[in-house]
Amino acid sequence: MIEIRGVSKRFGRVVALDRVSFEVRNGEVVGYVGPNGAGKTTTIRIAVGVLPPDAGDVYIDGYSVLREKALASSRVGWVPESPIFEQEFKALDYFTYLATYKGLSPSDARRLGRELLNEVGLGDAANRKLSTFSQGMKKRFALAVSMIGDPLNFIFDEVLSGLDPQGIAFFRGVVEEFRRRGKAVLFSSHILTEVQMIAQRVVFINRGRIVGVYTADEIARLASPALRIRLKHVDENVKNLLTRFGSIEVSENTVILREPRAEPSKILEELVKSGYSVEEFRISEERCLEELFMKLIKGEKV
């Protein structure tokens, strides 16, 4: 369990975090969402003990990161957005080096290293220098290191950014697996849809303050979907027809109908009855989530 309690941090005059508090329970994936510069990475750095807070504390399974750093750090794994390692090392050697900090003997560390590197898909790269690793490989390596000692808590910071579809699928699978195994996972991203797919709860942060905490169901409810309708041609009549059901945005032959006031099937029926040729008709959640996100950021009521 990860508990973030009243954490504040300033960088000079800039308030990076202002009394941030939330928790991640075991068996739960919590999304941590906010725009760039909102304070997500600062929160995470404090949570993993690499940055001291000005106030507040973080508890990992009840151990204070400030006062019991070693105990707390041994219970949490961290995959940073852009992992940076000492480039001169080979992957397995660096794994061994870091594992010795977790109390493993060099021989045990090497054995475990081969196993975990294999598990994260780096089995063939174990003897390659870290300086030759791509961003995706570095994240996989960081994941392997974070799995040493099989901790109960994991923190993923913007882990999906910059990954290819295969990498995204891999990390989603890992997070789902961790949740299934009862681990507490904090998963940060600036893309809500990314988080919504895997998180049971989402913590929204903006300008260093928590602006909302919602469950996945609540988000689904709050984010009323938009309809994306592509027609053979768009004229004034169809615009008037659709305006009856909600606000519209028109781009060439496509109309986005926001917050529809009727069931999608009813709207489609009306269009067909009026003789319009509908080429595409689908529910688009993406924009709706973004709007929810923007509303939260702006402090509007959702």
Partner: protein, 540 residues
């Protein structure tokens, strides 16, 4: 944590920069020994030559053996010059007023024996001079090193007049200048025996080593010779020279008759060493008797007995002081440049990973900042201990191997300790800088600090001292600023050893100030570095 220290130590040591520096310094250590050997060979004469020449009509024959001060038979290359001098030899200055009239070269493995035919305009009374350059393993070193060393392997003598019939064997030999200094502690002599109608030439060299006496005995019968040696005594005796026996023993008693010799042999006080019936060179060795300070060599030919008593001082012990002195002095050279290795190590272990943000991920492990700070410092400490150990060991081993001299192990241990602690203090300084400065800035400031402390400060202090107080002030200022250097302990220890060995001290060091300065050089930067590191942002 111990494993992490071990891995950081391993990567500090087993990295190209450290290994190249270490290999260079090891080669330098061997080079230092080589240099010591050259200096030693030149100054102390590491090579000796036992021999003689004969001049018959117009043919001069050179015969002899070369040996090292450690009792090894040496082979090599001999260059023999015959010079004819225009002035009398008594007045002639070495090599001046003399013209080379013949030259011969000869390679030899054990015995040099070469003849040269001379073309003399005035064969009746030539002022001849024989000069031999023997290039052996040791001698060759000396010759290659410059003309100044050449005297150490040049064996020369002058001929006042041609030897005549064997019945007039007296030959006056003028010791050449090159032989003024005898080989250290080695009884070195030659004797001409006239026994009835025969003249026996006996030259010997006894080399006392720690556990063994080595004998070189050169005997030539029925000969009129001019031995190529510096101390020559002509003895005339009577007896048979059919058989020459050699005995050795320990003690201070001389043996003056065959009866006394027989009794001494019967009592076991003298032991036979060799039996020579014809022209011969004897290489022999006998175990040294513990506690004896004198030994004697006895030659018997028929009823004639000759005894020589000589002091037993083993050469290795005599060499200890000059060898250790040279080693200590020469170790200062790599010590001046070793800080560069530790400047670089602090860059690799802290400044560089901190600059790119790589320490952040390390800190996410179950460790504290203090652990990381301590681990990487201790890795440098272990590297300092290892590098200094290897350097001192290689220098010592190569010195012992090349010079076959014993070195006081306490001195070696002190040198290691002094060098290791000095390097730790040096590393502490650069470590502090690496916590406060990143990447390129660190390198610039660290190099500046190195130049300032190791080179600029002493020069500047000397200049200031001369400006404000004249030359007399320099020593006073130098005595003060020598503590403003992380390597003051090594300087103190070298000064201490040299004082112990030679009884002289060129620079006075205060032991308390040295200890205090060293402790401060280690502790202060370490504490300041920690004060910075505990607060510093380790993210990129």
């Amino acid at each position: 944590m111990r494993s992490a220290i071990s891995i950081d130590f391993k990567r500090s040591l087993v990295r190209p920069a450290t290994l190249i520096a270490l290999v260079l310094f090891m080669l330098l250590g061997i080079g230092i020994s080589y240099l010591i050997l050259q200096v030693f060979a030149a100054v102390t004469r590491a090579v000796g030559f036992l021999g003689y020449y004969t001049l018959t009509n117009s043919t001069i024959t050179i015969t002899g053996v070369a040996y090292s001060i450690w009792g090894e038979k040496l082979g090599g290359e001999a260059v023999i010059h015959i010079e004819n001098c225009t002035t009398s030899l008594a007045e002639a200055v070495w090599r001046e007023n003399c013209v080379k009239i013949a030259e011969a070269r000869a390679s030899f493995t054990e015995l040099l024996n070469t003849s040269i035919v001379l073309r003399l305009e005035n064969a009746k009374a030539p002022n001849l001079r024989v000069r031999i350059n023997v290039s052996t393993w040791y001698g060759a070193l000396a010759i290659r090193s410059g003309e100044g060393f050449e005297v150490s392997t040049a064996f020369a003598t002058s001929v006042d007049r041609s030897p005549q019939a064997p019945t007039s064997p007296t030959v006056r030999i003028r010791p050449p200048r090159a032989f003024v200094e005898p080989v250290p502690a080695s009884p070195f002599g030659s004797k001409l025996f006239k026994l009835r109608d025969e003249t026996i030439f006996v030259a010997y060299q006894v080399i006392p080593l720690r556990d063994v006496l080595k004998f070189f005995i050169f005997i030539e019968r029925n000969l009129s010779v001019a031995p190529l040696l510096q101390y020559v005594v002509v003895l005339e005796g009577a007896g048979s020279c059919e058989n020459v026996e050699v005995f050795y023993g320990y003690g201070n008693e001389t043996v003056s008759s065959v009866n006394e010799l027989s009794e001494a042999v019967a009592r076991g006080e003298l032991k036979p060493l060799a039996n020579i019936s014809t022209t011969s060179i004897v290489y022999a060795e006998a175990p040294r008797k513990a506690g004896e300070s004198k030994a004697l060599l006895v030659l018997r030919s028929g009823s004639s007995v000759y005894t020589e008593v000589f002091n037993l001082v083993d050469i290795q012990s005599l060499l200890k002081t000059p060898v250790t002195t040279a080693m200590v002095s020469q170790l200062s050279t790599p010590t001046t440049f070793l800080p560069v290795v530790f400047l670089y190590l602090a860059y690799v272990l802290v400044a560089k990973p901190r600059a790119v943000g790589a320490l952040e991920f390390v800190l996410s492990m179950p460790v504290t900042r203090r652990d990381i700070y301590a681990v990487r410092f201790l890795a440098g400490v272990l590297t300092a201990i290892t590098v200094s150990g290897v350097l001192v060991a290689v220098t010592t081993a190569s010195t012992i191997a090349m010079l076959k001299a014993s070195v006081d192990l306490t001195h070696v241990a002190l040198l290691w300790l002094g060098l290791a602690i000095s390097l730790i203090a040096t590393y502490s300084l650069f470590y502090m800088l690496s916590t406060a400065l990143r990447g390129g800035s660190y390198l610039a400031i660290a190099i500046l600090a190195y130049i300032l402390l190791w080179f600029a400060l002493p020069i500047a202090a000397t200049a200031i001292a001369i400006t404000i107080g004249g030359v007399s002030k320099v020593a006073e200022v130098s005595n003060t600023i020598k503590y403003i250097n992380p390597q003051v302990l090594f300087s103190y220890i070298t000064s201490y050893i040299l004082t112990q060995l030679t009884g002289e001290s060129s620079v006075h060091y205060d032991a308390v100030l040295t200890a205090l300065s060293t402790a401060l050089w280690i502790a202060t930067p370490l504490a300041l570095g920690w004060a910075v590191f505990r607060k510093t942002n380790l993210s990129s």
